[in-house]
């Protein structure tokens, strides 16, 4: 925007509505505002998705644990879970069971390092699950930390621009100065509007992920203990299927 144009447009009554503030702003400030608005949309999309995902995951874990500790045969459970893509606890269970089964299939029975392998598989699966839960949370963190700065950048550009306009119009009355500054501050407002929920949600979701992770690890430890007991029994009494482990 040319300062001379602004100076000419200065006497025009400023539209102080939200759209007016946006439309009269400098190009860079406009870009910042649009970017921050998009960031806010994205941020809230992530918040909604993650909240739903964690709720779903938690419910699935509850259901799986109920089924797991109900005394059902592990073989049956494994077979019923094999058909769909497992998540959460079921993924951990399926991964460990698959490793177990592989050890008994084929010609050579390799029991020697089975507990270590199972542990490894469990670790990897937990890591993968946590990574899945954690995905896109960094976006929230970035928006939360960078949003105010981006907004401030828009404000500084806007105020610079409005001061140039004031210098060009040679009029320092508050009626001339105020609209430009209001426009500029609007950028900071949008930045804060995007950043504050992002920061709050990031902290909340992070703690949720931590809780889920510890729950996964607890289950993995318990399951690996059950499996190693089964292995020891097998090694002692010959080959048996871990039919009624629980």
């Amino acid at each position: 925007m040319n300062p001379a144009d602004v100076a000419q447009a200065a006497p025009v009554v400023h539209d102080m509505s939200l759209f007016g503030l946006f439309w009269q702003a400098h190009f860079v400030v406009k870009l910042v505002m649009v970017g921050l608005l998009a960031a806010s949309v994205w941020c809230w999309a992530i918040i909604v998705d993650k909240t739903l995902l964690y709720t779903r995951t938690k419910r699935a874990m509850d259901r799986f644990e109920e089924v797991f500790w109900s005394g059902q045969s592990l073989e049956e459970l494994y077979r019923s879970l094999q058909s769909r893509t497992p998540t959460g606890l079921s993924a951990v269970f399926v991964a460990a069971m698959r490793e177990w089964k592989r050890s008994f299939e084929g010609s050579g029975r390799s029991f020697q390092s089975l507990p270590q392998r199972i542990d490894k598989v469990l670790d990897v699966t937990i890591q993968r699950e946590v990574e899945r839960l954690n995905a896109r949370l960094t976006v929230l963190a970035s928006i939360g930390s960078a949003g105010p700065y981006i907004g401030l950048f828009g404000t500084v550009i806007g105020i610079m621009n409005s001061f140039t306009s004031i210098a060009a119009s040679k009029n320092t009355s508050l009626a001339v100065v105020a609209p430009g500054i209001a426009e500029a501050l609007f950028a900071t407002a949008i930045g804060l509007f995007a950043a504050i929920p992002a920061v709050l949600a990031y902290n909340k979701l992070q703690s949720e992920v931590g809780k889920l992770q510890s729950r996964l690890e607890g289950f993995a430890d318990e399951f690996s203990a059950i499996l190693s007991r089964q292995i020891d029994e097998r090694m002692g009494h010959g080959t048996h299927h871990p039919a009624n482990a629980a």
């Binding site: 939200l18 949309v41 809230w44 999309a45 909604v48 976006v139």
Partner: protein, 373 residues
Amino acid sequence: MALKLKFNPSEPGFWVSGVAHAAILAAAMVGLSSVSEFPEAQEGIPVEIITDNQLSQITKGEKTAKEVLNNPKPRADRVADKTEERDPGEDKRDAPAPPKRPEEMKVADKEEPVAAQPPPPPPPPKPSQAEAEAKAEEARKMAETKAEAEAIEQAAEKAKAEAEAKAEADAEAKAEAEAKARAVAEAKAKAKAEAEAKAKAEAEAKKIADAKAKAEAEAKARKEAQAAKKLDMGDIKQFLDNKDRNQSTGATGAEVQKTASLGTATGTSAKLNPSMRDALMGILREQIERCYQAPISASGGNAMPPVLDIRLNQDGTLTREPTVLQAGGSSTDRAVADAALRAVRRCAPFRVPSQYAPYYTDWKTLNVQFDLS
């Protein structure tokens, strides 16, 4: 991350968030579109609150001056060189005199309508001339009457002589008659000559007198005409003086005052100096003390002295009832205050020495700490 624009029931975040943002933006545009204006700022007016006492003690001076002088006056750099003081009842200014005319002109003007008439009786310029003329007239008249009487006598004599002569002639000789007739003729001729000479002399005298009067009148008229024509500087000056002259003397005050006193342009208060004020207070306190009867409860001497508001007229009477401005809270203090009020009321016409009369505005309102312990 690639946003999937297809709706995924397990990940509805993008759509939910987008719709929510659109809703919030729409609500904000509707809700925040009207800009509320600030209430109109009212400009403050500086107000100075002064008490009655201060109002009546406003001194004459300037608001920007530094202090109240002993003799408060506004600043004046110049005074008039001369001041006129007039008796009461006289005009403040002299009315300028009307332009004067020369004396002769006044007379000529007055006489002119009369002189215009065909028979101008020239006024006697000199009493001696008038007298001479009157004498001449008289002489002439007398001569005329004498001549007439003589002529009548002569006629009668002649008739007598004729009758005599006739009778004589009748009786005497004709020669005698002739002689007599000759004598009569002679006498007649003589008388006639005498009368003629007399009349001639009279006519002559009259002619001279007329000519003289005429010449005098002419000379006078000429002189008057000249006087009227002559430029009289004194008259013109007076004519010019008839216009109002500038009355300003350039004075800015009655007397020179190099330092202005603190005060207003209209204040007229004269201030008591501290010693005079003290003396006046002493006089008043002494008068009040005589009327004061301390209440019994105040005999302890620990009562708080009340402050009274006393308004006085110039003759020392009270303008209005005295009031208590400030008194202690205890019943003793109130009793003392009431007693003080009674004392002030009882002494009501206060004796104020006449030397304080010019400072009335200063002691019109008195706030007295009534310390009579």
